[in-house]
């Protein structure tokens, strides 16, 4: 099939970018990234710079890949990262616009590559259970209701790709954060730090340049891992409860 691509080309963080038009051929069996590989091989042969994009596993699990295709983060197929999207979902003559995630908190590094390190900083602020190596009790000492464990797993599937932020008109990181807060908050092991976790992660997100959530739901629509809005509701409950009732331990003379 013949395709016309318009791809965002930007040399580095400090230079201005622009859309550049390319004509290319593709087979329906190729993955979307393989279609770009083929384009890049041709660009190199012509002495032009290949298009930079992040990718690693190409199996929809590492969360490296991701850009916007015709206005939709990760492209047209629901629950699918761009590395798992195949060309059979497109047709001869299609015209495609490829752009990086657009969000103040995710500055563009080059072409379709953005800096998502803000996500790591949010996790560092509290997205964990504090248990140092060697201090754990026997794994079966604490039974967990299957229902809770299953729902924790649903939330834990987030791959940290950032599509939710890119799709949100406010560029909010709520879906991403709520996935971690729900995952850990649903498990008994996560209870002792539940309140601090919600407060600290939300505070960290506010320090980055993410917007706030106004319940639009674009995030859920593009999330490749089926993370649900319901988790944002859980996060909000934890956050509200923590803001009203939680006092950080301040022990005199400590």
């Amino acid at each position: 099939m013949k395709l016309t691509l318009h791809i965002w080309r930007q040399k580095n963080a400090s230079s201005a970018g622009k859309m550049v038009r390319y004509e290319t051929d593709a087979s329906e069996h190729m993955s979307f990234l393989e279609m770009l590989d083929v384009l890049n091989e041709r660009l190199i042969a012509q002495g032009e710079e290949p298009v930079a994009f992040d990718h690693d596993c190409r199996e929809g699990i590492c969360g490296s890949c991701g850009f916007v295709i015709n206005g939709v983060a990760h492209g047209p197929l629901p629950s699918t990262t761009v590395c798992q999207l195949h060309m059979r979902h497109f047709k001869d003559g299609d015209e495609l616009y490829l752009e990086p995630w657009r969000a103040a908190a995710f500055p563009v590094i080059k072409d379709l590559v953005v800096d998502r390190s803000a996500f790591d900083r949010i996790i560092a602020a509290g997205g964990y259970i504090s248990v140092s190596t060697g201090s754990a009790v026997d794994a079966n000492a604490l039974p967990v209701r299957k229902k809770d464990s299953d729902m924790a797993m649903d939330a834990a599937q987030c791959i940290g790709c950032g599509a939710c932020v890119a799709a949100c008109p406010n560029a909010s990181a709520s879906l991403f954060m709520s996935a971690k807060i729900s995952h850990l908050g649903l498990l008994p092991q996560g209870q002792p730090e539940r309140m601090e976790r919600a407060l600290n992660m939300v505070a960290a997100a506010n320090e980055e340049l993410f917007g706030s959530c106004t319940n639009i739901g674009e995030c859920e629509a593009v999330c490749p891992k089926g993370i649900r809005l319901e988790f944002i509701a859980r996060m909000n409950r934890d956050f509200l409860k923590a803001s009203w009732t939680f006092r950080a331990d301040r022990v005199e003379g400590d």
Binding site: A45, I129, V144
Partner: protein
């Protein structure tokens, strides 16, 4: 050079305890005075960096992805083994030890394997405490399944995403230490050289992948946790960025490389669809429980599978191995598939595939049951191929999956360079000539959480380390080497792309040093690869500059090292004149076509020493003795 594995004396179940007792401890107040570099943040490196941070060391951790959470470990599907015996089905530490030594076809070190089995139980405790949502039963306790032909249910899993959940647990522990200031994380940094000062590993040279800046980092010890080298074959199930540069550069500086030819091939992957193919996708082995594998009896039969009558199909595994049938081990199933395709009976457009047919299972069990068991795998298959496995048989083909070889390490995970430790898939330690399913995750976490943090303490406490910094002449020399390599790659200005070279070499390796090998083919491959390497240095075309994000340059540097490693792999395969585990030499097989091990001459780990550019490697042997698990031949008839 004398290889000393430093295995503690005494009965096997007491060795690790004895070793821990004998090791020197670093005074808690002194720990923060020591700095350690960890390269790689997969299960092995992430767990090691987090744990050393918790202990109070000053840790610098590096990865080439944009976040430590994206290491290749994230892609592991099936599960992680542990000798918990929660199912009361007769499992024990000793049984896991026994299965692993035997599964490795008697080419692993007994003492290491025993320690691995011993620690396996602590790993599960640690991960559950971190919030890893392993599958559970209705009573709220942990569920298990049997995996990879084991007779006991000892595999813990989190849906089909066990690696993801374990890695996220480890990543979160790591980020906690980043927050506390004890770990400094350097994402998008690639290690290009090892810095040796007074014969000890004292630092690394990295390239910042965003700015292109090449800089030196100095520490008191260096840990490599950079994963496997399966991408030497170009097409593999590994992530695209997985590479051998870190271990290869350390090898060139003196770390011996052990058993490079021991690679594992997984039988059930989705076949290649065209020459643009960029990687291969694994389909869980569990599919072989109900799917039947076949090819047409006739060569070049291009009919649709539904038009080939039952009598004209060859269910070759059931025919050749009546008692194991479709469930023969990975290496046997893989070789048989290749054999069928070599005879011209392969299926699909390329002829490189065999059918995995669920028709009978659907008739016997109903579509509902099949969907319940394999629904998500069928979906994944359809997503990639566009074919519906409920109505058309799946097509599968073997693919490179894991590398058992790696840098040689002693019992304490230290390489032949003092102060250089190697953990996870990057070392050669525990799997011998073949790895059992669900054991790589176990090894990575055992090394990182529970072994290295102790053994490195002993090294730091008992070694005199001078104060040095990046201005040291040896550090500057290493940095110059890295700079020179980048300049050289950019300077060639030839006509061929990096990928075109990599594909050509990968194909050669797959044909001659893949599923089955012979002396003639291996010799041919060595010559061909050396010639291709020369052409690469004359004709590669890398666009762009060094001082920016340059993905072609990254790929070129990795390929340059793969060229050298590939030749060593062939040398090693040539030298090992026996068949064992994943290494099948056509000259050494029984009349029925089964692998023939030679314990009299080859019961050793082959550790290769680099002698300089263009010079032949020298072979050193660590002989292996089996005091607990007695040498025996495998059989699946």
């Amino acid at each position: 050079m004398k290889l000393d594995a430093r295995i503690p004396s005494g009965p096997i179940e007491k060795k690790w305890e004895k070793c821990r007792f004998e090791m020197k401890l670093v005074n808690p107040a002194n720990k923060r005075k020591f700095s350690v570099i960890v390269v790689g943040t997969g299960l092995a490196g992430g767990s090691a960096a987090a744990t050393m941070g918790e202990l109070g060391y000053n840790v610098k951790a590096f990865c080439f992805q944009d976040s430590p959470r994206r290491a290749h470990s994230i892609a592991a599907q099936g599960g992680i083994n542990a000798a918990k015996n929660y199912q009361n089905d007769g499992d024990s530490i000793y049984r896991l030890f026994y299965d692993t030594v035997k599964g490795g076809d008697f080419r692993a070190r007994e003492a290491n394997v025993y320690r691995l089995a011993e620690i396996s139980v602590n790993i599960i405790d640690q991960c559950v405490a971190q919030g890893v949502p392993f599958a559970r039963e209705y009573g709220g306790l942990l569920a298990n399944r049997s995996f990879g032909g084991a007779q006991v249910s000892r595999t813990f899993y989190a849906r089909g995403q066990t690696g993801q959940q374990l890695l996220l647990g480890c990543y979160q522990a790591l980020e906690r230490q980043v927050q506390s200031g004890r770990v400094t994380m350097y994402p998008r940094h690639e290690m290009l050289e090892l810095i040796l000062i007074d014969g000890k590993a004292r630092g690394i040279v990295t390239r910042n992948l965003v700015t292109g800046q090449i800089e030196s980092h100095i520490a008191d010890a260096v840990v490599l946790a950079t994963g496997g080298y399966g991408n030497v074959f170009y097409l593999s199930t590994n992530a695209k960025g997985s590479n051998a540069t870190a271990i290869w550069r350390a090898h060139r500086k003196g770390a011996l490389f052990a058993n490079p030819c021991f690679t594992q091939i997984h039988p059930t992957c989705i076949p290649v669809s065209g020459d643009y193919q960029s990687k291969l996708t694994l389909m869980s082995e569990s599919l072989r429980n109900d799917g039947r594998i076949w090819v047409p009896q006739q060569k070049g039969d291009k009919r649709k599978p539904s038009q080939i009558p039952e009598g004209e199909r060859d269910y070759y595994l059931e025919r050749r191995y009546p008692s194991f049938g479709n469930l023969v081990p990975r290496d046997v199933a893989s070789r048989a598939a290749k054999g069928a395709c070599d005879e011209g009976r392969g299926v699909g457009e390329t002829g490189l595939g065999v059918y995995l047919d669920f028709g009978d299972a659907i008739r016997r069990l109903g579509k509902g049951v099949v969907a319940e068991r394999y629904g998500n795998l069928f979906e994944m298959y359809e997503r990639i191929t566009g074919e519906d496995p409920y109505s058309v048989p799946m097509r599968i083909f073997p693919a490179i999956h894991y590398t058992m070889g790696g840098l040689w390490v002693d019992y304490r995970l230290q390489s032949t360079i003092p102060g250089l430790f190697v953990i996870g898939e990057a070392n050669f330690s525990d799997h011998g000539a073949n790895r059992l399913g669900a054991s790589a995750l176990m090894q990575g976490l055992a090394d990182g959480y529970f072994v290295l943090p102790y053994t490195i303490g002993d090294y730091l406490a008992s070694t005199k380390l001078d104060k040095v910094d990046a201005s040291h002449a040896d550090a500057r020399a290493a940095q110059n080497e890295a700079n020179a390599q980048v300049k050289k790659l950019l300077g060639v200005q030839g006509k061929r792309t990096v990928d075109s070279f990599h594909r050509e070499m990968g194909k050669m390796m797959w044909d001659e040093c893949g599923m089955s090998r012979n002396a003639k083919g291996l010799e041919k491959a060595i010559g061909h690869i050396a010639a291709l390497e020369q052409e690469f240095w004359k004709d590669v075309k890398v666009i762009g500059a060094g001082e920016e994000l340059n993905q072609s340059l990254e790929k070129a540097g990795r390929l340059a090292d793969f060229f050298e490693l590939a030749q060593l792999m062939c040398r090693d395969a040539l030298e090992r004149q026996e068949s064992c585990g994943g290494h099948f030499r056509e000259e050494y097989q029984t009349p029925e076509g089964e692998a023939m091990r030679d314990d009299d001459d080859f019961c050793y780990a082959a550790a290769w020493e680099y002698k300089g550019p263009g010079k032949k490697h020298e072979l050193h042997k660590e002989s292996l003795s089996f005091e607990y698990v007695h040498l025996a031949q495998r059989s699946y008839k």
